[in-house]
Symmetry: D2
Subunit: 365 residues, 4 copies
């Protein structure tokens, strides 16, 4: 479960009946309808040859918690049915786990009982559930003027120089790019790279950057329930994540304090930071600057090239190859999922922040 006040659980398997999310603790009165969810889900659809050819229609169905188009305060169940499933291939190769996929660990963890078809619960398909839930969280955040954007800043060796903005144009630039990169030149280079990798039967990694604007100062409950910690945990619910860094992140390891520290200045009568190497978080608390972090995605483990593995039925070395339809770069379709989980964590922390702020005037008198 993500969250303690705004709580989200996800369920479902790639080739089962459905996937979906259960949201508990969402306040009443928010606009929540299928069109809202659909608009978000569309952003993670395969937009081109770059992503898996599976034609997921991702038609969300709101099963509870909404009445006349508004959240009621009751648990919201969202279900997205699976279609276009062909599991025959998975039967053929169920004893030969894909290297670096969850096939092998899942078999051990679940005593051989797991639904291995399509990767089961480990499929990238479950990110649609996160995206749907995230749409509701964004409605809540929007009431506070908080907006979140995730976009691809690196694919393989192609890096994009992105300067995030809190504007409709920035949103459109992300959505217009088939690789979710708002920089048109980099987008084109990334698209070319992904195409070549795909032709080679290989896959490639990438980096997704996220920025959240207008987050109030003081979200987080240190010393342990830090805002950055909760974001970090949540992003690992997106398959393929291998790292997360805030602000200057790993580069900070090579910096001096005098260059890394963000001077405090007064701007429009408010205390702000001049730079944002901290990524908007100090001491586990939001500091008022945009929250900025990057998430590293591994290359899709499923590739067409031959790979060495073990046949678990015979316990003999084996080779697998020729896996079919998979995104060659999961970072691309994961971008909306990272945006969604960020929204989920911020919505949760915003509600929890109000648990104190709502009492403030009564306590301070």
């Amino acid at each position: 479960m993500i969250g303690k006040a705004f709580k989200v659980s996800i369920f479902g398997e790639s080739h089962g009946t459905c996937i979906g999310a259960l949201i508990e603790g969402c306040p009443p009165g928010l606009r929540v309808d299928e069109e809202l969810l659909r608009a978000e889900l569309r952003r993670r659809r395969p937009g081109s040859a770059l992503t898996s050819p599976r034609r997921e229609e991702d038609e969300p169905v709101i099963m509870s918690g909404v009445f006349r188009g508004r959240s009621t305060g009751a648990p919201i169940l969202i279900v997205i049915y699976n279609r276009d499933r062909d599991s025959s291939f998975y039967e053929a190769i169920k004893d030969t786990p894909r290297p670096s996929h969850a096939d092998y660990v899942a078999r051990v963890k679940y005593w051989g009982m797991n639904d291995y078809r399509g990767g089961g619960i480990f499929s990238g398909r479950l990110t649609a559930a996160l995206v749907a839930a995230g749409a509701v969280a964004k409605e809540l955040l929007g009431k506070h003027g908080i907006r979140v954007y995730s976009y691809v800043v690196k694919v393989g060796d192609v890096e994009a120089p992105v300067k995030p903005e809190d504007s409709p144009g920035f949103r459109e630039a992300i959505d217009a790019s088939p690789v979710k990169c708002p920089d048109p030149n980099a987008s084109e280079l990334m698209e070319g790279l992904v195409g070549r990798v795909s032709e080679e039967g290989d896959s490639v990694g990438g980096v997704v950057e996220t920025v959240a604007f207008n987050v109030p100062v003081g979200l987080g409950f240190p010393p342990i329930d830090t805002l950055d910690g909760d974001i970090a945990k949540a992003v690992f619910a997106v398959p393929g994540v291998k790292g997360v860094e805030f602000g200057a992140g790993f580069m900070m390891a090579g910096m001096r304090g005098s260059e890394a520290n963000d001077p405090l200045i007064i701007h429009d009568g408010k205390v702000v930071t001049e730079t944002n190497n901290s990524g908007g978080i100090n001491g586990g608390l939001s500091n008022g600057a945009p929250i900025v972090f990057r998430v590293a995605f591994r290359p899709t483990p499923t590739i067409r090239k031959p790979q060495r593995t073990v046949n678990l039925a015979t316990m003999q070395p084996a080779v697998i190859e020729g896996w079919g339809r998979h995104d060659p770069c999961i970072a691309i379709r994961a971008a909306p999922a990272v945006e969604a989980v960020t929204a989920l964590v911020l919505a949760d922390h915003l509600l929890r922040w109000y648990s104190w702020e709502g009492m403030r005037s009564r306590i301070l008198g």
Copy 2:
């Protein structure tokens, strides 16, 4: 709180009465005594001129949950009293927050009520509480043959080529280094760098690597309670963390699947991975290979060099300088804390793993 079965809360302030930890859910029968805790705490003590000259004796007192040197199954309270406190300096500068420290955000979050002396709850001193609790977790893990090592692999531009081993020698090499780096050459270079930085009145960042050996396959509860996610969240409880990456981490973003994937092979009759780019975790579950991850630490925000800030009382620009005793490189003393939180998360997941494994034979028949 870290954990759901083995649960740890920490408390205390840098210049208050004490710091400490409360452990709930620890099984009975483990050796827990002050000497055990002291041995771990010693590892984070200032070993040289490289770290803060504050002479913390870190004398742990076990207040509950232990009877005749063994854990009883009841909550274990560990208290470490503070000594050698001089808060006068903090009074003088309490209105001029240190850039990139939690001073400013804490003042807003806590409505000006926080104990700002010595950084309050945001002080690196609280990591002693994590280390003490981690000592208990390591006792539990030791019963399962699981061992955890954290060490510094980078300070500023000095990187150490460390090949971790599950051996007493490796442990000793870490502990022998004043910068917690098991590579003697790199250790010396790091020591030199930290010394120069300190003389300049500046600070420098670093990277801590952690490896956990002998973790059974299948720890973790995806799709959301992933093992890597829980580790990632926990490390952010250590002040100064700006990033975390597993296995090949951010480098994976530049790799192809065919080079990043870890082939499965048979070794001694068991299925193992030939390489470990995954860092011992796939799909949020431990895969049997050593768990390897790196944590990026920012330079200590408190430096002696002049820095621009704002006087919050007058709301005028201000300059602060001359801060006294602080570790110039927090990564060094943070290494044992990262080791501790890793042990806490693994202990928790080990207990939770048994909640299923204990039923296995009854269910499968």
Copy 3:
């Protein structure tokens, strides 16, 4: 959410699309299929004129977490679609809350946004979700020889002298009774009483007793996560509960220690209690004796007789009457729900108990 290891959330509204439950943390390998759920759900169906004439078919659909008839270890989503809904009456009276129903408090809590039709989330209908989830919990408990029985021991002034037994005959006696009372004479008297009350347009309260056999010694995590406390909390998820007591319960308040204490004796080489005034729990831990507790249910708040209320639109006094189809005694259909939540709590505590027991031999050596 009920539980920390075996975790259950419920959702849905009386007149919405569906109701249902999400189970997280269920181990793999258990038989879970629609027939299993249906068998349990049948036990709460209106069996006679005594309960609401609404024809709920309660056809459960397993949407995730099950593969080839076995639990997979992944989240299990169970949905029961609503049919036979007619909400027109609720529209007519939505501004005149029923006394002692949740109508008024729900309107305030949810800012007027709640789905009031059929009582929304406060409908007894949601107990079907608990019963469906309970069916899975009972499968797990069955692997440990633990069995749970709930039955009606009191309706209005009719009390039944029930001596619970762990036998198929006892189960059948409960199920055969239209009022869920295994004592045939009392059952007939209760049936008569409920019929008369129904004719009068009134309702009546009742008491449900529960017994759980074969629970191992030591379930519970005191001092706070007590087994009785967790059961007590869970039963309040069943609408209409106003009290819960274990063993001799409130009668204990009038007893002396010398009569209330349960002597320890040796039976078949094992330590057991001679009597069971404690209801199988001491100090928040199961003691090996059958767990016995009773739950008091209020009379159904919805009645046909005229009642004074307030018209919230006009803020004038009002009278409501003539409410249609409702069980005159909710205790009857609540019995299977109490049995279900008991199973949920025991399943959770059994798994948590194994988190320690699974480590026992490694720790004690």
Copy 4:
């Protein structure tokens, strides 16, 4: 842990170093000092011959989370050291568990590792920790005008006709009674009864009633996190509880809906209930009326009269007698503990209520 926003853990053993509580999530700015805690602790002190002669001084020490007499928002650790301990008796009888005490179950649960001296964690002494934490919760509730009173309404066969009032006089009447019963006549009768029972070497049960005034409408998060359910769970953290009932409670089982329902009326322009059979809660939500519930306490299991038990070392029948100093009626000293846990639950739910209410105007616009 009690609570999700205002979170309390307790620790310690009867004959160990200390007992105490850790409070996490308490907002800043509340008056918290030793005198505040002491005032509450005094209310559970042995006031007369009626309660255990052990001279507990209950001197609370605030170890963290408070600065200059105000809560800081950081975790608050409260420690109460144990004194006047003589464990020799417990050594002599450690193999002969007291009937209906936790002695036997604790030995099994904790693999023989538990601190059995003085009952260990199962001692009524731990309620001092709850009372100390409750003092902080009451400060928070006081800022909202919420006040909680617990008092004894029954000891053995003596029942007191108490009509609770939200007034200083009512508070004084409770505190003035050596048996915590605000009715002077009943108090005297109870005192006499407890004295006689004590002379007989026996113990006696009792009932504690609690009332909370001024609780806003809508506290609680149904369908599962009900307010009554959370209170019910929390009271079981007080040793000796065997039952809890709200409003008319178990009497409701014998009532008709037409007499049990609380009519809604308009009073001073507000919607209120005319009667309060519901005990201030409907559908798991506070309804604005005073919250009223009763808790049944068993007779103290430890008595001087001879009792049959088993010698666990020899596995032979045994008789124990002559246990020394123990309250003959635990209900009396438990009353302040019930008051405290009620305050803890209400403080938690109040904060959680604000997590929605704080967003209300932004959402509804």
